[in-house]
Symmetry: C2
Subunit: 338 residues, 2 copies
DNA sequence: TCTGGCACTCGGCACACGGGAGTGCCAGCG
DNA sequence: CGCTGGCACTCCCGTGTGCCGAGTGCCAGA
């Protein structure tokens, strides 16, 4: 177990390195922090921290920088979450209020989060399968052409075109619409497959094919993995990463374009509590030099989706965590109101 | 006026520079192209081209690189549009087919375009105001809560929540829905304001307030500038820009995040024909070292939106233009089918 | 267990140097 | 009059050298 002072040294190293982006040496440490001991002592502590794998030297005779393990310890034991100041909280609220629809909410959130953290922001749309059905609408656009519209309590709206095998009468359509809604409205989307299973039986033989087509389209829309969507923003902040660009930034941009990768990343994180994944803790190779801070958000108690930021492992963890948590909280409120 | 040979020299310079990314000298030129003259002669031609402002030297005693004016001449007079090969055309079609909704179409298009051109792709959603109304739906979600859903012939669906001043009966709602659709279905969105102007008059006094609220929400969604949306992709290709990253890439990423800037950029381009804006021809400063190739696309004859790519001024113009044109054509087809 | 001292290591920078690619100019040739 | 080969000149750039400073590890002493 590391002594109290050694932990203090580690904390100082992390803070300084995050601030200066340069390896920090023993002398500079004693000057900037009141450790109460001499550089030589700090050097011994640093040697011990290095033995334990918390810090490392980029080159012999250079200062130390924290390793992923070092950041992990810092986040778990040495740092808290820095709460937002009152003006910041007000700014968040102002910025998010006045969104006209869900796209707007998500868009504003992603911009806000990118600006607050000066990093790349990722916001997942509320998951269909974790939301509740508000309404299912069927519109007849042409004799054998139906549009299916799903509306969730979180404001998300999905639509699908359906080509019916045979023309579908307006009364049958109204019948199906009414039956569908009476079964599923107010229920979680996850239950929908069960709830509509035997619906075709209630219809005349000639309509059954069409009803089945509609239902299977409905179920397809709910398949996890395809129904998940997200928005990212603040990629310009990647340019603040470091000086050795091309190699650092490239894989990150590529990862961000692969929505599958991001969704997996968010999916792996704890369900609603805040999760920090540091460097190599991220399964995806391109993100091995980044950290991901994410948290679930939702209109009520349960999380319907996640949001977070992607930044260099060398990031201000307490500040970032504070911003992410605060934004998630306010977005949840907005969704609950809509 | 420049002689035939000098134009040929300019063409050779552009082609070589685009290929190698390095200033091209007189000797290298004569070696790679059959110009039929000696380096000394080419030197004289280059001096003339430089006097006219078509090419420039990064430093004394270095090769020449094309200026924006040089690229302009190249695009206008010296190069055509390189048509896609048959396999490429097939690949495009395969890639775009099977999209389930408009978001999917736009998403696939942006990825496709980024991949084909190896540059940043930008695709605008079909403009509401330039589309035709397919259907307007009103859903009663709560006694004084109505959801407005607009559906265009291009597959776009917009929705807005409306809080009614007074509860709105189901029959009044059905009445309004029917009247609305009979007036606007099949008409261009641009005409909607005119068409619905006197609608409140047809209702009882108590409902008139609500009807007006619904109509004003409808009109708000049609305001140009707010209704325009777009998707971008392929930002990872920016890393191929050059070696002097931070300065080049940063403002471009920033511009791409400012949807307003991009929309303006696309808006300024010719309405449906292909437009190439080179370097400083772009009004936005951050894009002064990039070229934008854009073209309108639409389901029928008229363009309902634009798509294009953003890349370094040093780009393969014929190939890029070919890809952009081909993709626009296929997207138009897909939209017409849906 | 901490401290001050000391020798050592190594990255980064400033500087000088030379090679090479490219240029402009000029005189001569068809 | 236009094209060509030759020539002197200009710079960019990569390489090599030397120095400085920050940082380290180790050791003897308090």
């Amino acid at each position: 177990m590391l002594s109290e002072r050694r932990l203090e040294v580690l904390r100082a190293i992390v803070q300084d390195y995050v601030g200066t982006e340069e390896p920090v040496g023993s002398k500079a440490l004693t000057e900037r922090h009141r450790l109460g001991v001499s550089p030589a002592t700090v050097r011994n502590d640093m040697a011990a921290l290095e033995d334990e794998g918390y810090i490392a030297q980029p080159h012999t005779s250079a200062g130390r920088i924290p390793t992923d393990k070092g950041y992990r310890l810092f986040v778990d034991k040495l740092a808290g979450v820095k709460p937002m100041t009152a003006p910041e909280r007000r700014a968040i609220q102002n910025f998010l209020d006045g969104a006209v629809d869900l796209d707007d909410v998500v868009g504003r959130t992603v911009r806000l989060l990118a600006q607050l953290t000066r990093q790349v922001a990722v916001v997942q749309y509320p998951s269909l399968t974790r939301s509740t059905v508000r309404h299912v609408e069927l519109l007849s656009l042409a004799p054998a052409r139906v549009m299916l519209v799903l509306i969730t309590d979180t404001g998300r709206v999905e639509q699908r075109m359906i080509n019916c095998p045979v023309p579908f009468g307006e009364t049958s359509l109204a019948d199906l619409r009414a039956r569908l809604n009476s079964r599923v409205a107010g229920r979680p989307f996850a239950d929908v497959p069960q709830l509509v299973q035997d619906l075709p039986d209630a219809f005349e033989a000639e309509d059954r094919g069409t009803v089945s087509t509609v239902l299977s389209t409905l179920l397809e829309t709910l398949v996890e993995e395809t129904e998940e969507r997200l928005m990212i923003g603040g990629t310009a902040n990647l340019t603040r990463f470091g000086h050795d660009f091309p190699l650092t930034i490239r894989p990150v941009l590529e990862a961000l374009e692969e929505q599958v990768v991001l969704l997996k990343l968010l999916g792996e994180a704890g369900d609603s509590s805040m999760t920090v994944r540091i460097g190599h803790e991220n399964a995806y190779e391109g993100l091995n030099s980044t950290s991901v801070v994410s948290v679930g958000y939702g209109s009520g108690g349960e999380a319907v989706a996640k949001l977070g930021v992607v930044g260099p492992t060398r990031m201000d963890y307490p500040g970032t965590m504070g911003a992410v948590r605060a934004v998630a909280r306010y977005v949840g409120q907005i969704l609950a109101e809509s």
